[in-house]
């Protein structure tokens, strides 16, 4: 095959792939950004990070699941459930602490930070809505404020509401 020649399979794949429009890229961007405000998604990410930290610590210390189970005083199945199927597992803080301490680690306290606003299409639309309406909707409590983003990004249902679309 020549350098610039593509396999028929790759050529077919590229041929069947439509060029994304700006609107589609924006749509994807809005959907991905909105996940930062999805409690289930955020919780899953935190759980995933915890499991990964435990797996790294086990690797560093040369501890396998059987040894961890013995050290922790739990069954091998219980350890397996936590480490392999973490998505279905809801850890209690007790579990997080005791499992971490079994590996000589101390979890840091959960740190709370303000959520960053995401500029979605709906947020942009809201920013164009008059101050009276924004105050009525409790988006902003400063009558002189002309901020471009609402203080809290709530649901996207306003975007679908045609009366707000016409206001924008």
């Amino acid at each position: 095959m020549k350098q610039d020649e593509l396999s028929p399979e790759l050529q077919a794949l590229l041929d069947e792939t439509p060029i994304l429009t700006e609107q589609e890229v924006k749509e994807l961007g809005d959907a991905v950004a909105a996940l930062d405000f999805d409690p289930e998604f955020v919780a899953d990410c935190i759980k995933g990070d915890f499991v990964n930290d435990i797996l790294c610590a086990m690797d560093d210390q040369g501890v396998n699941k059987n040894q961890l189970a013995k050290k922790w005083g739990k069954s091998r199945q219980h350890v397996g459930k936590i480490l392999d199927k973490e998505k279905t597992k809801n850890f209690t803080i007790d579990t997080i602490v005791s499992l971490s301490m079994t590996l000589g680690l101390r979890p840091q306290c959960i740190k709370l930070e303000p959520m960053k606003a995401v500029v979605t299409q709906a947020a942009v639309m809201r920013s164009k809505i008059g101050i009276e309406e924004r105050l009525r909707l409790n988006w902003c409590n400063d009558p002189n404020c002309s901020c471009a983003e609402p203080p809290v990004v709530a649901d996207e249902s306003y975007a679908a509401d045609e009366s707000y679309a016409s206001a924008a």
Binding site: Q3, S7, D15, L20, V32, N52, L55, D84, K87
Partner: protein, 144 residues
């Protein structure tokens, strides 16, 4: 051939502290981002899981990517260093490789849906890994 790296839209810096996640576009055909857009519509719950896997790679050093539930290296030596992003009980797969010129960049190439009857026999997972490897070679040649 026009070869470009595109950002995954909406993915914040907070989710890319260790790796920048990019999508490879060949002559404007951007398979990974197209798949992400389509999956959002067709596989909402699984799409969310896959974005989580992307965030996992973005926020962890390569040596710390220990969880095979999210990242798996291709076990066919013929394809070389190519990987798949996945999640537990998730049908979706997004293939990627590490940028040879900068290992802090992850380049997503193509997609695969497990048990997708529309793909037929020719579109198996190993074939998808093969396409990723081919796209990796094209990209590597362009960086020489």
């Amino acid at each position: 051939m026009r070869i470009e790296l595109q950002d995954i839209p909406g993915l914040s810096d907070e989710h890319q502290t260790e790796h920048r996640i990019k999508s490879l576009s060949l002559n404007g055909a951007d398979r990974a981002r197209t798949a992400l857009l389509n999956w959002k519509k067709d596989y909402g719950a699984d799409w969310k899981k896959l974005i989580k896997a992307i965030c996992y790679v973005g926020t962890n050093e390569r040596k710390n990517l220990k969880n095979p539930a999210y990242v798996k290296k291709c076990d066919n030596p013929k394809h070389g260093d190519v990987y798949e992003l996945r999640a537990n009980r998730c049908k979706l797969r997004l293939f990627f490789f590490y940028d040879p010129t900068d290992e802090a960049v992850v380049i997503c190439t193509n997609d695969f849906v497990k048990n997708d009857s529309r793909r037929g026999k020719s579109g198996g997972q190993d074939a998808a890994f093969g396409l990723c490897a081919e796209m990796k070679n094209i990209y590597e040649r362009s960086t020489l």
